[in-house]
Structure formats: C-alpha cells, structure tokens
C-alpha cells in the first residue's frame, strides 16, 4: 500500500528517448530507473528525457538515483533533460546542483522542442 510502485514506461519521440516516471521516486525506484536508462542507452539513445508525472514525492534516495544517472550520462556523452517536475522539485534540483547537469523543462512538448533544437 505504502511502498508504491513507480511506473516506468519507455517510448521515443523525434529522436528523443522518453522515460515516463509515474509515481514516487524513492529507494524503491532504483532498479526501474537504472533499468530504463540502461535499456535506452543500449539502443543508442543520445538524448534522454525523464518525464515526471504525479511525482509528489521524490526523496534524497531518489535524488541519489538521479545523480547516478547523471554520472552515466556524463560518462557516455549523452544529453539528459527532465520535464513535468513541480515547482518544489525544480527548486530541490537547483539546490542539489542537478540543474547544472540536467535541462529542466516545464512539460514534454517544451522539452522535445529544446532537445531537437539542440540536436539540429
């Protein structure tokens, strides 16, 4: 009941690998997020969007998972963006320093526009 599953879904749009993250991003999310990242990377993704939905709970364990993804993205010369974060979590991402390494967009459409413009 309370150790909610995070729902992760992978899709592609205009050359961007989108990982939809629906639910809580806590310690329970590690395997799913890393698995999704590894899967899109294996398929050669250069531009990756973490599309957050209904994430009213991201804690420091979730932040540590995302720092792990950023570490891999930097190592593999990929580009990482996020969309759909609430104002609060956008603030947390800036506080922690994640915003220096991840492009933050308000929604998916804006992110796709930004990432495809950077690809052109």
């Amino acid at each position: 009941m309370l150790d909610d599953e995070l729902h992760v879904h992978i899709r592609e749009r205009e050359g961007v690998a989108i990982i939809d993250l629906v639910g809580d991003v806590t310690t329970f999310a590690e395997e799913k997020i890393n698995g999704a990242y590894n899967e899109v990377s294996r398929k050669g993704a250069r531009n990756i969007l973490l599309n957050f939905r209904q994430n009213d709970y991201i804690n420091s364990a979730g932040i540590a998972i995302l720092i792990g993804v950023v570490t891999e993205v930097n190592r593999n010369n990929q580009r990482l963006a996020v969309s759909g974060l609430s104002q609060h979590f956008q603030k947390i991402f800036r506080m922690v320093g994640l915003a220096q390494y991840i492009d933050i967009y308000q929604d998916e459409d804006e992110a796709i526009r930004g990432l495809t413009a950077a690809m052109a």
């Binding site: 309370l2 809580d24 709970y57 804690n59 420091s60 720092i67 947390i92 994640l98 390494y101």
Partner: protein, 154 residues
Amino acid sequence: MANVSHDADHEERVVELHLPSRLGYEKVAMDAAASIARRMGFSTDRIEGLRTALAEAITNAIEHGNAHDAGTRVLVILTVRPSELVVSVADQGCKPIDQSQLAPAPRIEDSFARADKGGWGIWLIRELMDKVEFTTAPTGGNQVRMVIYLEKQP
C-alpha cells in the same frame, strides 16, 4: 495510530503519530503535517518543504536509528503553536546519527566519483526548515526537532 491532545492554557495543539519502522509509512506523516500546516496558513512552497524535510527525518529514523527493526516505531510529534509548527521525529536509537552527516553541504561533483551518491537528507532538512536541532530522545534514541515559522513566508 494518532493521538491528539489540546492544552488550552498554552494554546498548543499536539498530534502524535507512532509509525512502523517500514519505508513508505513516512507518507502518512507527510500528509498529516501538510494538512495541519495548510490549516495554519503556510504557503504551498513551505508545506512542500516541510513534506520533504519530514520525509528525510523519518526515513533516517527508519533506516539508521531503528535499522528497519520491525519491533521499533518512529514517533512523530506535531506541535501547533500560534506562530510556528514544531515537528519532532524520534527513533528508538539502535544506531546514533552519523555526526559526519551533520557537516556542511555535500557537493554533487563529489557524488559523481562516489559509489554512494546519497547523504543529502540532513542537508535538505537544514535548508528547508527554519530551525533544526539534533538531540537524544527521552527514550534514548535520536531525535530531530524542526521548526517552521508562520511569519517567514517567501
């Protein structure tokens, strides 16, 4: 699970939650604290900060203090005062708080090189709350006491 008391003389309302030492139950306390803070008139931004800080304090208590021991509980006390909300989180202290975690802000650049990329919890609590104290609970465990002031709205 909840116990509410009201001391009219001190204009103080107290809500106590006794949570199982199992990750996920922090969400019950986050919702309760947010509900109280909203009724007190805190802004959305401050309530979100409170939710995050409380989540970190409780997960620390579950993971470190109580070491996931199913026989232990985490005690959360929410004290409503006219100009502030005081939230204390106490564990049953199988393991004391790592004092090195109370040191200055972690740096993301350092995290990239470390296998363990965590260690942000206590820093977040300090950043988001107006006053934070780490003490020993009357029961002997760790206790974090956090305060947010009503007048300090962004």
